[in-house]
Subunit: 669 residues, 3 copies
Amino acid sequence: MSALSRVTGGRLRFGGDYNPEQWPPSVWAEDVRLMRAAGVNLATVGVFSWATLEPRPGAREFGWLDRVLELLHENGVDVCLATPTASPPPWMGARYPETLPRDEHGQTVWYGSRQQFCASSPVYREYARRITEDLAQRYGGHPALKLWHVNNEYCTFCWCDETARHFRRWLRDRYGSVEALNTAWGTAFWSQRYDSWEEIIPPRRAQYLHNPTQLLDFRRFTSDALLECFTGERDILAGHTPDIPVTTNFMPLWHGQDGWRWAAEEDVVSVDIYPDPRAGWDSPDGPAHGALVQDLTRSQAGGPWMLMEQAAGPVNWRGVNHPKPPGLNRLWSLQAVARGADAVCYFQWRQSRQGSEKFHSGMVPHAGEHSRTFREVRELGAELARIGPEVTGTRVTASVAVLHDWHSWWADGQPGRPSAELDYAQVLTSWYRALWEQNLTTDLAHPEHDLSGYPLVVLPHLYLLSDAALDNLTGYVRDGGTLVCGCFTGVADSDDRIREGGMDARLRALAGIATLHEWWPLHPGDELTLDDGSPAGLWSEELDIVSGAAGDTLTVPARYADGELAGRPAVLRNRFGAGTAWYLSTQPGHGALRRLLADAAATAGVSPVLSGLPDGVEAVRRGGLLFLLNHRRGPVTVPLPGPGTDLLTGTHHTEEVTLDRYGAAVLRS
Amino acid sequence: MSALSRVTGGRLRFGGDYNPEQWPPSVWAEDVRLMRAAGVNLATVGVFSWATLEPRPGAREFGWLDRVLELLHENGVDVCLATPTASPPPWMGARYPETLPRDEHGQTVWYGSRQQFCASSPVYREYARRITEDLAQRYGGHPALKLWHVNNEYCTFCWCDETARHFRRWLRDRYGSVEALNTAWGTAFWSQRYDSWEEIIPPRRAQYLHNPTQLLDFRRFTSDALLECFTGERDILAGHTPDIPVTTNFMPLWHGQDGWRWAAEEDVVSVDIYPDPRAGWDSPDGPAHGALVQDLTRSQAGGPWMLMEQAAGPVNWRGVNHPKPPGLNRLWSLQAVARGADAVCYFQWRQSRQGSEKFHSGMVPHAGEHSRTFREVRELGAELARIGPEVTGTRVTASVAVLHDWHSWWADGQPGRPSAELDYAQVLTSWYRALWEQNLTTDLAHPEHDLSGYPLVVLPHLYLLSDAALDNLTGYVRDGGTLVCGCFTGVADSDDRIREGGMDARLRALAGIATLHEWWPLHPGDELTLDDGSPAGLWSEELDIVSGAAGDTLTVPARYADGELAGRPAVLRNRFGAGTAWYLSTQPGHGALRRLLADAAATAGVSPVLSGLPDGVEAVRRGGLLFLLNHRRGPVTVPLPGPGTDLLTGTHHTEEVTLDRYGAAVLRS
Amino acid sequence: MSALSRVTGGRLRFGGDYNPEQWPPSVWAEDVRLMRAAGVNLATVGVFSWATLEPRPGAREFGWLDRVLELLHENGVDVCLATPTASPPPWMGARYPETLPRDEHGQTVWYGSRQQFCASSPVYREYARRITEDLAQRYGGHPALKLWHVNNEYCTFCWCDETARHFRRWLRDRYGSVEALNTAWGTAFWSQRYDSWEEIIPPRRAQYLHNPTQLLDFRRFTSDALLECFTGERDILAGHTPDIPVTTNFMPLWHGQDGWRWAAEEDVVSVDIYPDPRAGWDSPDGPAHGALVQDLTRSQAGGPWMLMEQAAGPVNWRGVNHPKPPGLNRLWSLQAVARGADAVCYFQWRQSRQGSEKFHSGMVPHAGEHSRTFREVRELGAELARIGPEVTGTRVTASVAVLHDWHSWWADGQPGRPSAELDYAQVLTSWYRALWEQNLTTDLAHPEHDLSGYPLVVLPHLYLLSDAALDNLTGYVRDGGTLVCGCFTGVADSDDRIREGGMDARLRALAGIATLHEWWPLHPGDELTLDDGSPAGLWSEELDIVSGAAGDTLTVPARYADGELAGRPAVLRNRFGAGTAWYLSTQPGHGALRRLLADAAATAGVSPVLSGLPDGVEAVRRGGLLFLLNHRRGPVTVPLPGPGTDLLTGTHHTEEVTLDRYGAAVLRS
């Protein structure tokens, strides 16, 4: 029995962050009444309650929380109980200024907002340990408790002196000696050689470009330092309640943490997802973003996962914050379920009337229970209850793996690169979207993962690839796999040291490249034409293919038709061992990228969930169910592969189903 | 006898800032000769003279000022004498670094510019007190002295530790207890609860969004802290010279001070106005800006006021600084007089050859007395002398009140709102301009003011409305008034707490709104169409009108014709008690807004000063005079309501008057 | 025998920065093999070696450098040995934080990058002195040593307290008394009068605009403070090796140093040049930029100079970094030789695999010896060896002087000016380019230089002109010279004090201007038309010409045809003494500017090197050689003035020569 199945008990969890401390108890009664009306069965409590629970150092105010948990329990709402350590009370910053982060400019990051803690601070960690201990002791046996939620969206960076000491310890663990560090960082450049550990600092504000490996290691360290905060609390909780799973909620596709490493430390993987309701199906910020994060989270979890936060309506942190039109909240919730979510939760239950997020929507918005928003929430709750038993705990199977690695992202995003236009997340998203639009179901994977189960592996762009990853990819293709690689890949090793020749020799061998002369990044707005007439942009490469290889094993599906590289190979396809490797030395236009990936999928024997669907209609299979999701702004009729019953409506469909604008069907055949 | 009439003595004051300490005494003789030639009758002296008057702590150098005042007096130029406290001498910052402001990042704001003082600093205040005392004692009885000018454009914010202590005292006065503060600020959100006053700090640089009420109160506090500096000096001056009025010059429509509260502490209200000479009549930066500031200042003063600073030519703080074409200086000066100014003054008399503002024009520019600029100044001086006796001290009567409140502006301008595009000052200006272009004479008013004298009240956008304001507006309409409200109004109470339902129930009742579901802000460039074909932008609202109300009392003059809200009400018009309330849930295009406001004015029985004027021709009545001002870039002929004599030329006009490009007429019928 | 001729020994120097400490000794052997293959005869060693040479305070590690110099010497590669003082080792910042710069916000600029030293720090200077001393002592007699290279691209600004003390000493030297400083700075404005030296600080972050003369003097001081660092090291080196010249490499057209003053302290003048390979011949960032920097450097040197750094391919500090297409590296190298370079060197020999510049190209790129880049380097090396004996040490003669002064640039670039659009470097570049495109060979000159040797002097824009400069220009024209002046010139004196009338009377007399009423800067995108139909932009001036002067001596070649100044003079041409002065009160469009300068050249009797060349073909004479350089992206045929032999190919041409895309010919007639 998986940890998450202990949380769900076989039904979809539905609910959200519940912050009763913001309201008088008179409202609590209305809250539980409305929760019952909406089918809420899980409330996340206490995420930002530290100052309420511990109004001054060492004090404890648990009475209100006792009453809240009791009230929820009495009303059939289970509890995801949070440690409140994401937002230390003002007294901590006031009494212990050393707990406050310092930015790279040396400026203190003050309290008065949230997340103002230095992950390396012993004082912060000790106070966090104590409140976690006391929460576990007091509520570990509460019958409503189903899940621990540690902290919230870990994201705080710090460059202070305590962090510097911690960074040095981390580096000593990694490198053993200062000499090894000097070698790994290449400190011979610009006279950066360190003579002792004590000289090493975080990459603070400098005159010009920083040492790239210092920057990269500081990213790794920060991820690990925050992870220590998580595991520290997790271990306390697990010590008290070995049967209650522990999670922490990730931000979607966030660059700050090594999500593979973090997920391995969690019992249950959960994430917050906030696509832009203004974005259409063909936008990277719309449902493709949701799908990508969902696939990533499922891949991190190795199965079902929790949608810990989404918005019932608008958020408040964009420049212009759009509400969700009728149906969109339901559609995106069902998309999460289709892609493996066993919980659909919100930030937050009741929209705040005060504080920094009072314009972030709630399940119960300012307009109250008679609002359109709450009506839709209530209807969704009923639907999720209906389909829950058939879907909870079931799996999504993907034939395509999309490779993703935070370390490459970190190395990639630094200044001083060939082009500031080559954005890791944009490239990843564009490739993912080209697959998603064709209903090719995907997992995300680390390049060192076992890929043998995937007929097709897609690597949009990984500047940094470890030796293990390169050996893994080589073995994968040699043994019959199909690999599609994007540009500027395999350039650096794990220390961000450029591979000889500017691209790893193993990868060159896979792709059939003899010499990589130069990278030719493109200016924004500049475009190239390939010899099949399709446009390309962002990047191009001046390369020679392996001499005499073209023909039998190596083909050149596309050449540059104009620009400085006219006549040179743009896309390579190389038989290698029992498999095939494609290399795209440029970023094709979206249509061309779709076609190239469709070609690769076809040759790899990978089929879409359904073929011939209109654009903007998403099809996913989970367990025995077929989810059809209409992201278009109008109704659409979809031909079915066979008869089936829509679990949402109970209607039986034989040949086709018509989906309203933002409509969905969950078909059991 | 009003304070200002003691300054004017029945003539229009004409002059400017005079900084003789920048020049050798040989130039002073030329100055007074040219002042006499130009008809200058008031010189503002000493605004930035602190380091000259007090070259080292406690020293006094008054001799030069004695001579300057004597020289001015001998030449018939009266004096507005300034306290020099806007710019402490370098010795103060060097010896007392604690007098220097710190910004929100903790960075010191150094001397070497101006206004580098922390308003909360006891050391600064004590030195300011002493020099003010000595000036009052020495010059209080000087026959040239007609007005005291305190400081200059108060605007300095500070986040230092002394400010923190002061902020706490201010908060203690406001809230009495930390508990009350926690309630008002909603510190339950994000664990921001304060346990003691000592923990509270100004909103310094933080990890993410600040507490909104902390931000709002810090704005209120800063306005009050600066006001204490003003009243401290004022009280010293008044103690010495009870009959000499005191003023301080405001910046135009500046967000930093609560102008209603400040004006109440001044004997005479004065302001600096700097429209962009490049902007046409249909631009918000052109004469409409001038008119708005003039109406606001007159409303603050409750009658005539002083134009303390304008530029004879270009300023030097825009990206590109345009001179004034021939006639424009005269036109904008007469506009100020038309709208209640009893003084037309400049920064500055003689353009500096050194220092940070040497490219800011002067009445005597670098080109000297034979310049076009000085010739126009001289001609204007003569004209103002001619019309002065008929205009000085007379009143402007307005039938329309435009509501404006700094506190709402402060609350409105924070991050984390539905849309960063909704700019308070832009909305206020666009509505004002729609009235101004139609020659509907307006006052500005606070929403708690007595509005019963205005047939029409226009409320462009007040996110925050106090209970008193809401009761006031309700009573105003109930008793027969006509109120036109713009979008996103009445959302928050005085603590920036969202009203239940997202919009105050009283305002909803006025407008005929049952439920306000969602705010739908628009992206820049996005546009909606209303069902009368007119465009709208910026904002829209998903709302239900009061059920069954439509028809008799509630009409819907416009609905959304496209977008997510197609078919829903956009503009409401509701009979309420004996009056009528309009609600615009979007920002109509400029033409549509003009028409809507014209409709409202017509139904309220409010007429323009003159109807049927060509666009860009402004008509204002002051006392018994009709001012006609041509802001167009070419001549125009204006039909007259009756015969009259132009005081500027002495010409009698019967049926029409032709105004040159940038021409004007001041007609006595 | 000039210092540089001691370096060259009559051949063109070819090579680059060589950083063997980044590589294992096994690579060194390959390095020298490839250097020999490429014809490299000079390697710059040790530029960033401080931490390697002095791994901890006082330690010395010279062994590796001994071996490197020996290896180079054995292989016939001479050495330019650098002092490593541009990048202090981390131990210096860690042990002596006072050596780290502070920015204007008071923030420390940390180590971990490069150039993190405060030029005023005694600790830094002492450590720099010692390592320089030891290098000179150890290697002064090495037979490979041909040149000393001090530091690298001096550019660090600092606002710390030590800098403040140094700034005060510098000011005391300049002004003698605080009173004189107060006068020069105009501190009567805004109460900025200083009572003692101790109060004076660098222009740190302030509330509003700084004192302009303080800003200007801080620029002068910083240039001088850095120059003291240079001369300090130079004097040590010269003491040891009086016959080995000393240089430091400038950044191209860099605003931070007074290049005239610096060059005077150098034995050999060298510069780094990095045009954008993406820019075409008609772009200010392309070959015109290279030519301008080359002419400037030659003018600073008073003869041949060294190209110390260029890139063999892309750089890594632009947003998007383009490689050099085939031929471009050769073309731009020959351009430098044509304009006086006796050395063509690169940053760097071997592209780094680690560190902040691993994406900056090298002569040996990542792709290695079989790369296109290295093949072109090798070919170029052979060509330079071929032409070297005929070109090294010869001179370029120019008939046109373009005036340039860093002090005016510094004064010009401040905020608070009439227009932020008037960019000194852009104006200078646009005028230079208009001359360069017409193959009018130019020197750059300071306005106080002896200009009598130039028939034509062009002054694109010098806001600040000293009395000496104005007298010099007046004398130049009086004695028969032709001067063309751009707008907003001669406005301020050396203290940035506005000249009476807004423009110096001497310059007004030269130009025939009676009164300068106003400057009318134009908004970006705004354009004026002159009465010859040509467009103009950026700026215009409202001026009266000398009454009655028009006609005989004063003509008005162009008037404004529209806008506020329609009908007024735009371009003046005035006979003055035996010469002629032109004044352009606006910035004509590029074509019009070309024509105006061509007219002026024609009347001054100045001819282009060749007439009638296609656009984008550059012609320069050096010594007896004619360089023809094709910057076009296609081949071009150029008619020759007479027969000649191309030294690059040995081919004899009689009537014309065809140049490939990016092709060149070096013709001896």
